[in-house]
C-alpha cells in the first residue's frame, strides 16, 4: 500500500479530513496521531463500532436499491450485523474453545458500544429513516446508487519538498545531499474521503453523513458542523468528483446510550464561495504542514488541550518532555492511519 508521505520524508501528500483536523487542532496532536501513528488503547473499539454501524446502513441502502421492500431489507441487514459481530472459530485466539462453542458473539466491556446496542441502533435508525424517508439516494450516471463513495481528489499543486530516491538515473533534477540523493517532488496533494450517501431532499441535493455520539444531541451539536473541515471537504468532493453540486450536508446523528438510541437529523449548508474559501484555507494549512515536516517539529497548541472533551494526549503533553515516551508506550498503541486506504 502506498504511503501517504513522500518517500523518505514526513511530508504528507494524501490527506483526509481526520488528519487535516488533527493538524488544525494542534500540530503536536497531528504528530502523535499521524506521523507517529499512536492511538489511545481502547480507541479501536470506537472505530470498529462505527464501521459496523456504517456498514449495516450501507448494506440496507444497497439492498433497497435492488427493489427489496423495507421489511425484507431490514431482516437481511440485521442478519448481516449478527454475522459481522459473530466471532467464528477461524478468527479465534483460542481455536479449541471456539470450535467447542461453534463461535461466540462479539463481546466488549463498553456499556454503550456492544453488539446489542449496535443492533438496536440499526433497527431504530432504519425504522425511523429507512422507510418513507424523504431523503432519496441519488442514482449515479453508472446506474449505481450513490452510497459509500470513496474519493481521491488530486489538487493542482503539491508539496515543494525534495524526497529521497535510490536510483538517480530515473530522477531528472536530482540533487546530492549529505543524507543521500533527492529529487524535486512532482506528486500533487490528494484529498481523500468517504461519503456515506448522496441524496435528494426537498428539491436539493445533499451529502448525507451518519454519526454516532455518546453526547446529547442539541442544536449546538449541529451548529458544530458549520464551519467544519469534514463537511466542507465532503461538499467539495461531491461537487468536483461526482459533478453533483450540493446544498450541504444532512447529518443523521445517533446518540447511543445504554438504554436507548436517540436519532435526530440536522443540516449544514455550504455555498460555492464557502467551499472555495475552505480550499484556499486548506492550501495554507498544507503549506504549514510541509513546513513543520521539514523542521521535524510540530508545536503544541496548548489552547486546544481541553476542547472537544479533552485531547487524548493531554496527559502525555502535561508530563516532562523526558518522560513522555514512557507514557505514550503505556497508554497508547500503534495503528495504521492511511488516508489512501479505502474504508
Amino acid at each position: 500500500m502506498t504511503s501517504p508521505f513522500l518517500p523518505g520524508t514526513k511530508v504528507q501528500f494524501a490527506w483526509d479530513s481526520t488528519s487535516l483536523g488533527w493538524l488544525k487542532t494542534c500540530p503536536r496532536l497531528y504528530q502523535y496521531s499521524m506521523i507517529d501513528q499512536w492511538v489511545m488503547k481502547g480507541e479501536r473499539l470506537h472505530l470498529k463500532y462505527g464501521l459496523l454501524y456504517h456498514g449495516a446502513l450501507e448494506f440496507y441502502d444497497r439492498t433497497r436499491a435492488q427493489n427489496f421492500n423495507h421489511e425484507e431489507a431490514l431482516i437481511d441487514t440485521v442478519q448481516k450485523v449478527l454475522v459481522d459481530t459473530w466471532e467464528s472459530p477461524r478468527s479465534a485466539e483460542d481455536p479449541a474453545e471456539m470450535i467447542a462453542n461453534n463461535g461466540r458473539p462479539w463481546k466488549t466491556d463498553h456499556p454503550q458500544k456492544n453488539r446489542e446496542t449496535l443492533i438496536r441502533s440499526v433497527i431504530w435508525y432504519l425504522d425511523q429513516f429507512g422507510d418513507k424517508d424523504p431523503a432519496q439516494t441519488v442514482v449515479l450516471q453508472s446506474g449505481k446508487p450513490a452510497v459509500e463513495l470513496t474519493f481521491k481528489m488530486e489538487l493542482d499543486w503539491g508539496p515543494k519538498s525534495y524526497y529521497s530516491v535510490d536510483d538517480i538515473s530515473l530522477a531528472p533534477g536530482a540533487l546530492n545531499f549529505s543524507t543521500g540523493t533527492k529529487v524535486p517532488n512532482t506528486q500533487p496533494y490528494i484529498l481523500c474521503g468517504h461519503l456515506d450517501r448522496v441524496v435528494t431532499y426537498a428539491g436539493g441535493t445533499y451529502v448525507m453523513d451518519r454519526k454516532t455520539t455518546g453526547s446529547t444531541i442539541s442544536s449546538n451539536y449541529f451548529d458544530g458542523f458549520t464551519p467544519d473541515n469534514q463537511m466542507s471537504l465532503y461538499s467539495m468532493a461531491s461537487k468536483v468528483i461526482y459533478k453533483t453540486p450540493v446544498q450541504g450536508i444532512i447529518i443523521d446523528a445517533a446518540q447511543i446510550a445504554v438504554g436507548f438510541t436517540r436519532l435526530q437529523r440536522g443540516f449544514a449548508y455550504r455555498t460555492d464561495a464557502q467551499i472555495d474559501e475552505w480550499l484556499e484555507n486548506t492550501k495554507h494549512w498544507l503549506n504549514l504542514a510541509e513546513f513543520f515536516a521539514k523542521e521535524d517539529f510540530w508545536p503544541m497548541n496548548d489552547k486546544s488541550c481541553h476542547q472537544y472533551g479533552g485531547c487524548p494526549f493531554r496527559r502525555v503533553c502535561s508530563k516532562d518532555p523526558n518522560v513522555r515516551k514512557n507514557f505514550l508506550e503505556t497508554d497508547f498503541e500503534r495503528r495504521e492511519w492511511n488516508p489512501l486506504i479505502p474504508r
Binding site: I75, R120, G259, F260
Partner: protein, 65 residues
C-alpha cells in the same frame, strides 16, 4: 417465543427468518416504550414487555380523610 438472549447467543447463520423477525419485534417494542418515556427501554438486560405503570402519587390528606 424464543428468548431474545438465546437468539443473541446462537450462531447467526443458524437463525431463521422468523428468529430475525423476533429480534426486530423485540427492539420495536423497546422503541415504542422509549417513545413513551422509558429511557431504559432499549437496555439489553431489560426484560421485554410494556412500560411499567408509574404508581400514582399519594396525597396523605386523601388517606386520612
Amino acid at each position: 417465543m424464543t428468548d431474545i438472549a438465546t437468539l443473541f447467543q446462537t450462531d447467526p447463520l443458524k437463525l431463521t427468518k422468523a428468529d430475525i423477525t423476533e429480534i426486530i419485534k423485540h427492539y420495536r417494542l423497546a422503541s415504542a416504550n422509549f417513545a413513551n418515556g422509558d429511557k431504559a427501554a432499549g437496555n439489553a438486560k431489560k426484560i421485554p414487555g410494556t412500560k411499567p405503570v408509574k404508581e400514582k402519587s399519594i396525597n396523605l390528606d386523601d388517606i386520612l380523610d
